[in-house]
Symmetry: C2
Subunit: 146 residues, 2 copies
């Protein structure tokens, strides 16, 4: 029970390597929608947490405020969100998800579901459920959205 597990057999190694593979696939597909991974992160955050300022969004995603400018610019150009100047504090821009933004997020969810099916095609229903259950626990424990 105290043996050294070979590195490739660790959860850390597998999670890292598989995460990288899956992210590359997802990135390629959402590229067809004009989206990059961080865009999807912001769409998800706005969907879950409602309108927030750019700075709040940056903090919520754990990225620099300067990066939020770029991401919001791209989503605004796609019509996925609007910037609304806060009347009470004109320094703040509230990021508001549009119908178009909601539709884009839904298409991302569908894409992810398709990738799930392809990825886990070799697993039986039991393993598939156990995998997503355990990942859900880890996700929650690490502050990821539900």
């Amino acid at each position: 029970m105290n043996d050294v597990t070979p590195l490739p057999a660790t959860t850390t190694f597998r999670l890292g390597a598989l995460g990288s593979i899956v992210t590359a696939r997802f990135t390629e597909r959402i590229g067809a929608l004009g989206l990059k991974p961080k865009d999807v992160g912001l769409l998800t955050l706005l969907h879950d947490d409602g309108p927030v300022s750019q700075l709040e969004a940056a903090r919520g995603m754990g990225v620099a405020p300067s990066l939020m400018v770029t991401v919001a610019d791209r989503l605004e150009a796609l019509g996925a969100l609007r910037r609304l100047r806060d009347p009470g504090d004109r320094r703040r821009q509230h990021l508001v998800l549009t119908e178009q933004g909601r539709a884009l997020l839904a298409r991302c969810a569908t894409t992810a579901q398709e990738l799930d099916a392809e990825l886990t095609a070799g697993l039986d229903e039991r393993d598939r459920a156990a995998l997503n259950h355990a990942l859900g626990r880890l996700a929650a424990a690490n502050g990821l959205p539900h």
Copy 2:
């Protein structure tokens, strides 16, 4: 059964996000050994597949040959591998793992095990085993080392 799963609840999203988190942690810790993630990939490949040329190593890792130069340079400077000129074809450099390289790889494996324990501290033994079992299946299906 045909509902749209919310994006954050998909295996794709969770695997990508958790992979990124875990990789960041692993990267930070192996940094103390003077190693970067790609270095660990090469150490693993050399451990599993024995001495190979730089080009073979690059192909095996799916990276550009020019990147292999950088990675091999760093590992050579650490004394983790040696470059041996092939006498039969003096263009080729065989990358040979040293004892020091084996020791470094073992320390990486220990580090990964520690991270595994921290990461899955909130899971019961059942879920932990189910998770690593399912990940192992996916890893094998995607050509990762065992």
